[in-house]
Homo-oligomer: 190 residues x 2
């Protein structure tokens, strides 16, 4: 009895992310994934029931992995700015180092593959950050704007900087990162 090769799932995921970064969700086929992962098309179906399941499982994997990273070393008891800085830096680093995943998640949100419940579950994982922002508003440290505005602004801004850095092939240096943190902080600051 030959056992399932768990490394293959990683290779399939890796291949999918690479192709989505290259051509978008609209550009991937099961054949291209198989080829990129150096396996036969049929093998994909041993690991995943179908294309939709493959995408959905990868999506959930990415969301789980990324959000759990976002909150490592985060202490909800620490002062607001300390907590915010921790999460902010975790996000920034993660998205730079895992650019393909970020692109993939973004694409999934506007695709026929990911259903509403999956999206909601993903959103749910950001609760600690939502709570933190609300605490910041209570403590009068940040603007009293609706949380979705503040968070959207910060998250969208960060994503876009990282995207442009990749496309224009710019290196993000430590001082640039500090300046970028200031963009976020000054924006939200009361």
């Amino acid at each position: 009895m030959k056992p399932k090769d768990e490394k293959k799932i990683k290779e399939i995921f890796h291949a999918t992310l690479k192709l989505v970064k290259l051509n978008g969700l609209a550009g991937i086929t099961m054949q291209s994934i198989a080829k990129q992962a150096h396996i036969a098309t049929g093998t994909l179906y041993i690991y995943f029931e179908n294309k939709e399941k493959l995408i959905t499982e990868l999506f959930n994997e990415c969301v789980k992995k990324s959000t759990s990273t976002y909150f490592t070393n985060y202490d909800p008891e620490a002062p607001f700015k300390v907590g915010f800085r921790t999460i902010w830096e975790n996000m920034f680093q993660y998205r730079i180092n895992n650019f393909e995943e970020s692109i993939f998640i973004e694409q999934c949100f506007h695709s026929p593959f990911i259903h509403q419940d999956t999206k909601l579950a993903a959103k749910e994982m950001f609760q600690p950050l939502v709570k933190l922002i609300e605490r910041g508003k209570k403590e009068l440290l940040i603007k009293s704007l609706e949380t979705f505005c503040i968070l959207g602004f910060l998250a969208g801004g960060m994503s876009e900087i990282i995207k442009r850095a990749h496309y224009f092939d710019k290196k993000i240096t430590r001082p640039m990162m500090e300046e970028t943190f200031l963009l976020s902080w000054d924006a939200m600051k009361a």
Copy 2:
């Protein structure tokens, strides 16, 4: 001789935008576009050579329409903040009122339909804004961070706020808009 019905192009574009908003670029088919536009599939090919051409032409149309709106009433001679405010408000309003187009353009950037030269041409249309930001830096009014960071942050933040407003079905009020402008302004301010 029956003349081409120019209104049909509008209907086709409109149908495509609606479907892309709903299901993403990965979710549209020529049949679904035709159906949504209340025409026969074959008719699509009278107006557009093929699917890629349809998408590319719609993309160019959207980019042209949106960027030209962004710079209406913009006076490059006016003080920095006045000019910035004009463009910022034009963008904000346009994206709220033409949400589908914004989503479509975003999706196109990561798709197999739009080629590099088309993307570059689109980027080129933002030159006046790039110039303005660079002027703001020279006048020491805003942070001396690379322009792509500042612009990316502002544009990404704005997009994401508007996206979340749509998905969570939030109305963006005038005071909210003012507060949102402050997010951008405070972020970039020196």
